[in-house]
Amino acid sequence: MNTPDPTTATKPQASMNQPNADATPAAAPASAPTTTSVESADGREVTLTDVHAYYGGSEAVKGVDLVYKPNEVTAMIGPSGCGKSTLLRCINRMHEEIPGAHATGKIVVDDIDLYDPSIDLTAVRRAVGMVFQKPNPFPTMSIFDNTAAGLRLSGTKGVDVKERVEWALRGAGLWDEVKDRLDKPGIGLSGGQQQRLCIARTIAVEPEVILMDEPCSALDPIATLKIEDLIHELKQRFTIVIVTHNMQQAARVADTTAFMYLGELVEHAPTQQIFNNPGDPRTEEYVTGKFG
């Protein structure tokens, strides 16, 4: 069983991880390259209540209430500077890493408020993984070490690292391409492979939620398609939030879509509805390309 050792974690974090103990990564069948071996499991619901985010004195996110449903992909769309990336970074509390930045409000995963002062920051980030815009594998590490980095960096014990790395690389649809060169540097891969390596690194720590900040914007169309296929697979097991500038991408991957404008959430609805029958005139103007 590969769940992180609960004894090393704070109480709320432990209860965050335990319900997942029935997902057996290693037992998943090795199948055709296109299908991943991520088993379905219940993702976690994420509830945002009155979230504000600031850079110094300026308010980038102005009170957002939003629910991300488990086992669904939610796309965040909106013009540049609308606060969608900032909001995303609030969910794993990476926003506050920027000097002078802070956030207020409640973000609840499984009855646990991530902004509770007693909560361990590292536990939040293990529960809420993140994939960045530009592929950013660790330059000194091999493919294997990159995938295992999350386990080692967070000091997770009691895990068969080899098994978990294979599981994560299969989950990211990368195993068949790299299984013979796991000891080669991660930065030797192509851009698309690097991004899937980053996804493997993220799922290797078995988060509940995966945040993706424009994960395909630095990739070519074929690599993009692979990542999108992967997102479909990953939602069987994880709650996924993806920020994208590409509305076709939102339409392809997302079950629901949220439109943000000037730091406010304008509308959150099933993707079909956002694109075909939006409730707010600003959403309609944006999705039809009148601004942004």
Binding site: N92, M94, E97, P99, T122, A123, V124, R125, R126, G129, M130, F132, K134, N136, P137, F138, P139, T140, A149, G150, R152, L153, S154, G155, I187, C198, R201, T202, V205
Partner: protein
């Protein structure tokens, strides 16, 4: 639409003149450098032979003056100790500034003082150690370890400043990646930032060592001079810069020749360090 005309003759002439002027200035700057190297190699080469490198100075005014073995060994020992003191401290300061201090007022104040310390003449460090450690007779008077302390004081700001530059080259994106995986800050530093910056840190340390190895003034009042080979850090010790300093002011040509030989030896030792530093830097994965 305006017609495209060929470049005017006056502009071509001006361009030629400007380029010629700059080239002349560059060549002018190279003249002293070339002369120094020429004399150093010419004079130094005559003095150097195997016996020169493997015998200690005798200190006798008449007869065989001896070689520079104790000076080579002494410089190596004292610079090694100075590096052992200054590299961890300097890299530590740089880590604090980049990873924790960032743009805070305190960090900026530290940066300012590092800059000031980089500009302090080396004789001041020698005087400082002379007053605090030699005059006060802590562990005797002149001692090799006191010279190392003076050299270390000189090297710390150099190591700190260049290490800070190197650490800033580590892209923030990989720090973020590590933090987002749930890594505590100290593990991000030890497992991700330091390994990534390692070749650059080696280079910056070696360059600081190369700088320290050639300093005379910090050793002058702290170690004093000795002829015989010494390994005791609590004792006086010979060093290449001091050997040169002593010999060059002597009235005998043989001793002045030894100064040239010692100078060439010192320059070669420093050159080796710099070449190693460059080779390590080439292995770095960070863009410079």
């Amino acid at each position: 639409m305006r017609q495209l005309e060929p470049t005017s003759r006056t502009r071509i002439a001006k361009d030629r003149a400007a380029r010629g002027f700059l080239l002349a200035l560059t060549l002018l700057a190279l003249v002293p450098l070339a002369l120094i190297l020429y004399y150093l190699v010419k004079q130094g080469f005559e003095a150097i032979n195997w016996e020169f490198l493997t015998t200690d100075p005798t200190g006798r005014f008449l007869g065989d003056p001896g070689g520079i073995r104790s000076a080579i060994v002494g410089t190596t020992i004292m610079v090694a100790l100075a590096a052992a003191i200054s590299v961890p401290i300097g890299v530590g300061v740089a880590l604090y500034l980049v990873e924790y201090g960032k743009r805070t007022r305190f960090a900026n104040t530290v940066r300012y003082f590092i800059d000031v310390m980089t500009g302090v003449p080396s004789v001041v460090f020698g005087l400082f150690v002379y007053i605090t450690l030699v005059v006060s007779q802590i562990g005797g008077t002149f001692a090799a370890w006191k010279g190392s302390v003076a050299l270390a004081l000189l090297m710390i700001p150099i190591v700190a400043r260049s290490s800070e530059v190197v650490l800033n080259l580590v892209p923030d994106s990989i720090r973020e990646a590590a933090l987002a995986l749930g890594a505590p800050r100290w593990r991000v530093v030890t497992r991700v930032v330091l390994p990534t910056a390692f070749p650059g840190l080696v280079t910056s340390s070696l360059l600081a060592i190369a700088r320290g190895a050639g300093e005379t003034a910090p050793l002058l009042f702290t170690v004093a001079f000795a002829n015989e080979m010494a390994f005791n850090l609590n004792d006086r010790m010979n060093s290449l810069p001091l050997q040169i300093y002593n010999d060059v002011s002597q009235a005998q040509d043989r001793l002045v020749a030894r100064a040239w030989g010692a100078a060439l030896t010192l320059v070669v030792m420093i050159l080796v360090l710099i070449v190693i530093a460059r080779l390590v830097q080439r292995r770095s994965r960070l863009a410079t």
